[in-house]
Amino acid sequence: MSRGPVSSGGAGPKLASSSPPFEFPSYYTRQPFFTVQPVLNTRKKQSQLWGDLIVSYCRHNKIYELNLTEAATSPLFCNTTINRKLSMDGIVTFIDDLVQQGNAEWVDAREKNRVNIFWRKIDHWATLIYKWVSDMGMLGNVLTVWEIQNGENSQGQEFFELDTRVLMKALGVLEREGKAQVFSGTSDENLGVKFFAP
């Protein structure tokens, strides 16, 4: 597998600088991978490969929001070793597919330049958080968003230090399922959340 450099700034807020560089998959070094395939079945396979790559790249670098104009020239979409890059049209096409799948959401649905990448689907975070609350015997109690994100008890949990926007979406899912209620406050981190037994 060929190693690629970690995206340098630009493509998102946080960067896990202490982790090893992202390992690009074998197909990242294949020339035709960067041309949107004209044959439908082939494009479907290509879309799946791009989707996998985008999600794992963002997961590795803890990128929650991708700015496509910047990302277009980053190693994610641009492989200088083989002198190929995915066109902006191609980027938008494959991100649209990710949106369809539930792994992404346009921040600006008209311009289509900024997109949230959910390297875990929102539903998955919702389930994890609820289970953690339940396992701790805290159903019926109120927790703050900050506690969920950064508390002692969340260390070691997958959602530890989860991006606030993503966390809020997950709580939104639990609210819709009647499993939680978010109380208004002055800022996201201050918000209280009460969890209910099913």
Binding site: Q31, P32, Q37, V39, N41, T42, K44, Q46, L49
Partner: protein, 219 residues
């Protein structure tokens, strides 16, 4: 004629004794097995003929090839989405080795070749295409012509094909190139590359790219 028949009978008996004596080695060593298979072919004995009968029982050879055939079918099905149902023999062998794991009986290209010929006889749509110094395993029913095979030969050598390359090597005009390549594109056997350094569209073949093209087979 009678003498020849007698000799053949004696030869077959010798072969059976040989097989009995070297049962283990036949199972373990692909090279030895290959030689043994060739000997059998010369005498008109087919160890793969059926799962029952002397040979299969004696050697478990029938099972070995049957199992291998099933694995070949699995690999071809899993890689079909990327290579359109054409995979180079060495590439197939790599997948098989990973799939079978380090503790399985060793296999070589001859073993794979035989299994595929068996599959072909069974009418499963498998066939072998000679491409330069290697072979391609085709597991889809689409009809490929000698033109397509010519393209594979060039692709094996250069890694890709383009209009210029096909013109230089085969004197094909654009119409012929387009017609031949369109089928390969449609079948998913070739992928298009519009950023090739030559400025022309280039066509690449996941089937002959070693190291894979994003195939997860739970190896």
């Amino acid at each position: 004629m009678k003498l020849m028949n007698e000799q053949l009978v004696v030869f077959k008996q010798n072969l059976e004794e040989f097989a009995q004596k070297y049962k283990k080695k036949i199972r373990k060593s692909p090279e030895f097995r290959q030689q043994f298979n060739e000997m059998c072919t010369k005498v008109g004995v087919d160890p793969l003929a059926s799962n029952k009968g002397f040979w299969a029982e004696l050697l478990g050879v029938g099972d070995f090839y049957y199992e291998l055939a099933v694995q070949i079918v699995e690999v071809c099905m899993c890689t079909r989405a990327t290579n359109g149902g054409i995979i180079e023999l060495g590439e197939l062998r790599g997948h098989l080795l990973r799939k079978r794991g380090p503790k399985a009986q060793a296999i070589n290209n001859d073993d794979i070749d035989r299994s595929i010929r068996k599959l072909h006889i069974l009418g499963s749509g498998f066939s072998l295409i000679v491409a330069g110094s290697t072979k391609l395993v085709k597991s889809v029913p689409c009809e490929l012509s000698v033109d397509h095979e010519a393209v594979f030969r060039i692709a094996m050598e250069k890694g890709f094909v383009s209009q210029d390359l096909l013109f230089t090597q085969l004197a094909w005009d654009k119409e012929r190139t387009d017609s031949v390549m369109n089928l390969l594109l449609q079948e998913g056997i070739a992928w298009l590359d519009t950023q090739h350094e030559s400025g022309q569209p280039a066509y690449w073949f996941p089937s002959i790219i070693h190291g894979g093209f994003g195939d997860e087979i739970g190896e």
